[in-house]
């Protein structure tokens, strides 16, 4: 890995190296590159060593970097986060794996009380360059606590940064950029998309970490804007393809960063289309999608042709998995919202 290129989109030089990778493999390669680039980078988590993690994201890393850099930890999430804080103060750059979204809550206290606040408390004397990786979201037919979308809790907490990747290229580069960041980063991985493939250029970062990205443009009037992140980007792109077949252009924006939000491209888009549908599988109340709706009405008030609509999970606990197809936003629910927006 060429560390200096991490935050610059245009600095790659020489031959490009494009490989077709799954998100899972891209994360694995990104972690490996970060460990090779900086001996202070450590992996910590449950079953991440010999087993390579329950999703195999850390596969082979302990074998190559040793047990002191890839730690199979005791089974306690507060312990993982709390000891990572101490290691970070000591000069390490810990990357913690939380096995499943619903298991992050035993570590919530350490994240909110220490990880988020130590830099502020010490006025910058303690930096917390740590990453907390969280496979999140539903759609895998799992039992309770394995399908949640807890990102809003962390976006609501000052001192943390929160990102989510949606494709293999971002998986490869964003994880390295997050590890390179001197602030603590919650890194949400779309677990139901782990095995989706796409070409990845491993020589050049596509852009900075804390920036949203327009994935599909819709220059003409009569269009609408779709905004999502993580696992919902696939749904948004499928919806845009389906709408295009019916003659409706949808602009699709991948947020990528949930805190800080980078809404410039969203404002720019909404000022052209006048219509916005925000998609997330998290419950809607007091969430990322609420924040976007509030900000867009504030910044794009005179451009809006319809109210900002949201397509989200419901304000319930995550249901038994036989009901998750109804719970999770899908192509039809997104297109239904687009139709309502266009008909307003």
């Amino acid at each position: 890995m060429a560390a200096p290129t991490l935050n610059r989109a245009d600095s790659g030089s020489g031959e490009s190296d494009v490989q077709t990778l799954t998100i899972s493999k891209a994360l694995n390669m990104g972690l490996r590159a970060a460990m090779e680039a900086n001996p202070k980078v450590l992996m910590m988590g449950e079953d991440i060593g010999k087993l390579g993690g329950v999703f195999r994201i850390t596969d082979g890393l302990q074998k190559d970097f040793g047990e002191q850099r890839v730690l199979d930890t005791p089974l306690a999430e507060s312990g993982i986060i709390g000891t990572a804080v101490g290691l970070a103060i000591r000069g390490y750059r810990p990357v913690c794996e939380i096995q499943f979204d619903g298991f992050i809550f035993p570590g919530f206290d350490q994240i909110v009380s220490q990880v988020a606040k130590l830099h502020y408390r010490t006025q910058g004397r303690n930096k917390l360059p740590m990453v907390i990786r969280v496979p999140f979201g539903g759609g895998i037919g799992a039992v309770e606590h394995h399908s949640e979308s807890p990102e809003s809790y962390f976006a609501h907490t000052a001192g943390l940064k929160v990102v989510s990747c949606s494709n293999p290229t971002d998986a490869y580069w964003m994880i390295q950029q997050a590890i390179d960041c001197d602030d603590p980063v919650l890194f949400f991985e779309p677990k139901r998309r782990y095995y989706e493939k796409a070409p990845v250029d491993t020589t050049k970062a596509p852009g900075p970490l804390f920036a949203s990205r327009v994935l599909r443009s819709a220059p003409s009037a009569g269009a609408a804007t779709l905004v999502g992140y993580g696992p919902m980007i696939r749904v948004c792109l499928d919806a845009a393809n389906a709408a295009a077949e019916d003659g409706t252009e949808l602009e699709v924006i991948d947020l990528r960063t949930l805190s800080p939000l980078d809404l410039g491209p969203v404002y720019e888009s909404v000022r052209r289309t006048g219509r916005l549908v925000v998609v997330s599988e998290a419950p809607s109340e007091s969430s990322i999608t609420s924040e976007i709706a509030a900000k867009v009405q504030q910044e794009c008030f005179y451009s809006l042709q319809a109210p900002v609509l949201r397509v989200t999970g419901f304000d319930t606990p995550y249901p038994p998995s036989k009901l998750e197809e109804e719970f999770l936003p899908d192509l039809d629910r997104v297109l239904h919202a687009v139709d309502r927006s266009l008909a307003w």
Binding site: S78, G79, A84, L87, P106, Q123, S259, D262
Partner: protein, 398 residues
Amino acid sequence: MSSPEQWTHPEPASAPAATAAKPTAEQVIAGLRATDQGDVNLVQLLTPEGERVQHPDFDIDITAEELRGLYRDMVLIRRVDREANALQRKGQLGIWVPLLGQEAAQIGAGRALRPDDMAFPSYREHGIAWTRGIHPTELLGIFRGTDMGTWDPVKHKFHPYTIVIGNQVLNAAGYAMGQKFDGQVGDSDSEATICFFGDGATSQGDVHEGFVWAAVYDAPLVFFCQNNQWAISEPTERQSRLPLYQRARGYGFPGIRVDGNDVLATLAVTRWALEECRQGNGPILIEAFTYRMDAHTTSDDPSRYRLSDELELWKLKDPIERVKVHLVKQQWADSAYFEEIEAESEALAVELREFCVNMPDPPPERIFANVYAEGNPVLEAQRDEFLGYVSGFAGGEH
């Protein structure tokens, strides 16, 4: 002996077997007593009467100059504590957390540390701060509301005060793991970490997880529990059936109870524990058996939950008085010396008072400062909007 299953699934009250299965009142009381009395295993080198006693495992050679130094530390930090308490009563501090009675536990432990060792405090560790070279004025802002502690934790090797009970124990375990990963463990020149927490904290999950982590990674970490008998209003018996130091056995490392009102014993035991950690034999739990002679904080009222007789009993075990008696008996100090220390402590109190009343309020920019290391444009926009709003008032302020 009855089984736990019988206790948790009792037969109806009329069934004699179930009644017999419950612990008797005497058994319960005996269990509680074991937690609140210093037992035969208590390490002590200086009795409350100022008599030097020997201990087979933890003796210490101490010179007159060293003991005078420990005495001075304790007198000064007690004076700081009393002055800060008074400053709260005068409205100059919002709250104060008294250390009265715990001077020996803190000075003994703190003076066992070397500059390269790392210390993680809770929020009552004013004596430890003193031994880490932090001037007491640097503590005041936390309690006046002007900052969250101004010392540099990297330079002083003294972590910020941690107010969420037990959080710092895991942070300390991680730091000690880092010392080990850095190859700084294995001989007498190595580093160690010490972590301070109270009897109440021993019930927190983070403390248990810290025990587990430090144990399985062989971390060079001394867990230093100041059992001051009270977690605000709850006695130690509410936290444990077992004497706290005995918990270490369950995690697979040594636990030891020391007279926390005996500065020599605390120094000796902490030195030993740190040395074991340097050699790679950590972690170790020390329970310093002491007493919180004042309230939990200035907002607390101990008369609602404990008897004054108890305080009177502990006054007889005062940590400073026994050292003074011993210094006199040994003819290691005379009245001129004690007067000199008294004058120094008064001067320090004056310095503290003057510093406190002159502390300026922080500017509104401070709200937004250093939330992030690499900035955040959303927050910066919020800051700029607010500061613009504030500057619109006459004089630039509300």
